[in-house]
């Protein structure tokens, strides 16, 4: 395949390697107001402009975003909703154009994005596959060659000659992805694929990503599923309010990003219930810092407005509210100040920063009343071995590191 540029864009005619992506000082703005492109809106706009009132007409969705991706890299793009991730992908995909700067792309782009909306309900699955494949730039002959694989991937064998309007939502989603997945792109864009479809389909998507990566395709991955991103990508880009905040190895970017997300969670954890959590202490053995495979002592100091039964949950996570493991203890507490201590033995946590989440409940006749809601109490650092990398694109659910001994022997 000849080295080509983004369709129709002459700026990219400056040579760019196959599989490379370059975003040079890219700015993109959107109209802030919801004016429609009708004549009357145009006239209003002109009136505003004559008065010199254009200050609020636009917001910048991307500001001075500058990065270069080498062929074969797998890059994860993180950021909160509205940070500009999808806009960036759209520009790389050649659907949108920047207002300033330039985006250049080497080779053909395949995009695993939500494309169900592009399927025509009155056409059959077969007709849609050919239509879609052709629009994505494949020759009909080529679509015919990969047709069986697409149908197989989407799991619609029995329904391929049925009109798409009679498909289930899941089938439509899978069909949309399947066509894009078999494009043989030089650059693969993946936008929240794993948020849709059942888990079996997610596994197949990941499997396909593994194959494509093994073939040396450049990958650009957008997801809120940080574990998958960590397993798949080797480099991370963090967009914050349309600006590139960090460009570093994926582990570092995700670490910073998680911390940032956490800060927001902690801001929202102020509560005023019958029980107040005054202090949380986390210590290794003999008050030292926490080490891998050693014991950890967690001590809560609480203040209760009356004597009651109290059940305490604690959990450890990398940041989000979904813990890797949970411990529970319950007892009768007195009104006033109480100290609750929990010792965790042989903690299998690797080196890194972790978050202790906790909640307290009053079990009363089957229904547990929340005394303290589930919230991150504090963070702590663990000293020990680095967590082992998984094989590429194999997702680890939580970074637990178990101490291990190996023995390789040959012969009998």
């Amino acid at each position: 395949m000849p080295i080509s540029s983004k369709s129709g864009s002459p700026l990219a005619t400056s040579s760019i390697q196959l599989g490379a992506v370059r975003s040079e000082r890219v700015w993109k703005r959107f109209r802030a107001d919801l004016r429609q492109p009708f004549l009357i809106d145009r006239l209003e706009y002109l009136r505003d402009r004559r008065r010199g009132d254009t200050s609020n007409s636009y917001t910048w969705a991307l500001r001075d975003v500058d990065f270069a991706i080498e062929p074969g890299e797998a890059v994860g793009l993180v950021g909160a909703n509205g940070a500009g991730k999808s806009t960036m992908l759209k520009m790389i995909a050649g659907v949108m154009y920047p207002n300033a700067g330039q985006v250049s792309v080497g080779g053909r782009i395949g995009a695993l994005i939500e494309v169900r909306a592009g399927l025509h309900p009155d056409l059959t699955g077969r007709e849609n596959i050919f239509l879609y494949g052709t629009l994505l730039g494949l020759k009909r002959k080529r679509v015919a060659e990969v047709f069986d694989q697409i149908v197989d991937f989407a799991q619609i064998e029995a329904a391929v000659d049925r009109q798409v309007k009679f498909y289930s939502t899941g089938m439509q989603l899978r069909l949309g992805f399947a066509v894009a997945a078999y494009l043989e792109p030089d650059i693969l864009l993946v936008d929240e694929v794993l948020a849709v479809g059942d888990s079996a389909f997610q596994q197949r998507c990941l499997e396909r990503m593994r194959q494509v990566l093994a073939e040396g395709t450049t990958l650009l991955f957008v997801s809120h599923d940080l574990a998958t991103m960590e397993a798949t990508c080797n480099r991370g880009l963090w967009l914050r309010d349309g600006m590139l905040t960090m460009d570093a190895p994926i582990r570092e970017v995700l670490g910073e990003y998680r911390t940032w997300v956490e800060r927001f969670a902690e801001l929202g954890s102020d509560h005023d219930g019958p029980v107040k959590l005054l202090q949380t202490k986390i210590d290794g053995p003999d008050g030292r810092s926490v080490h891998s495979y050693e014991s950890v002592t967690i001590e809560f100091t609480i203040d209760s407005d009356e004597s009651r039964d109290c059940a305490v949950y604690l959990g450890v996570s990398e940041g989000p509210a979904t813990p890797m493991f949970v411990a529970r203890g319950a007892s009768y507490i007195k009104a006033g100040r109480n100290t609750i201590r929990c010792v965790l033995d042989h903690v299998p946590l690797p080196n890194g920063r972790f978050y202790l989440w906790t909640s307290m409940h009053e079990p009363s006749g089957g229904i547990a009343r929340d005394l303290v809601p589930w919230h991150p109490a504090r963070s702590f650092d663990v000293i020990g071995p680095q967590v082992e990398d998984t094989p590429r694109a194999v997702v680890r659910l939580s970074p637990v590191q178990v101490s291990n001994q190996w023995e390789f022997s040959s012969g009998e």
Binding site: F38, Y97, H120
Partner: protein, 289 residues
Amino acid sequence: MLDPSTIGASPPPELAFRRKVSLVGSLQALGRSWEMVTTLTERELRIRYKQAILGVAWALLQPVILIFTLTIFFSSAAEINTGRYKEYVLFAVCGLLPWTFFSSAIGQGGMSLLANLQLINKISCPREVFPLSIVGVAAVDTMTSLIAVIFLFAIKTTMPHALVLLWAIPFVAIEIVFTMGIVLLVSSLVVHLRDIRHVLPVVIQMGLFATPVIWPFEVIGKKIGRGGEIAYAIANPIGPVIDGLRRTALLGVGPDLTTLGYAALSSVFVFFFGFRVFKRLEASFADLL
């Protein structure tokens, strides 16, 4: 960590993105995307006939009904001086065929970007494939109508003169090139100015009367002279096409080469103009749809 605080409130003016579109490059890209146009045309036709009980039969029934209506109306009610042309129905059909092609291509093609906004927001392909595929649909419809027209000639026991076959290629070429130019222009402008959507049907209606469909082209010459005819040919290349079709098919005389030549030049100009405007506006489609 990068420091975003150094980023200004708006980009420095020298960075402003200018999408330079080369005409040749765009035409080459369109040529490579030709399969997209045919596939989209096929999609439109499939969808249309899937939704109808009579299916493909409608493509033939529509022109038959139209011609039938015309025959009744003009053979009984209207009195129009068609000059050299004896059979009014055949005269009218020669005007209707090119006009219907043009008006249906513009009417549907003008809205084609709005109708495909989901695809436009997701897939990067030359956007002109959407309006151009509608021109393809109109072409298929016209071919079908042609069958009905041939039947009509048979009923009237008139043979169209063979001369029309010789001239068919330039007629069709002018017609298609002009229609493509206008459909590219209209469809891209509609995205920026949605009001056109409401104005367009009215303009097409007016166009039916402004084009020599139900009156002969010679009327223009009689009213405003030779210069007026040439000016009209430039403004509306469909006029000379219809006139040429009538002369060759019904009278067996050659077309008026002067007006036809101006029509050809004008249609090529309109095409390049429409294509250029479309390519200029193309960059902003995804923002506005």
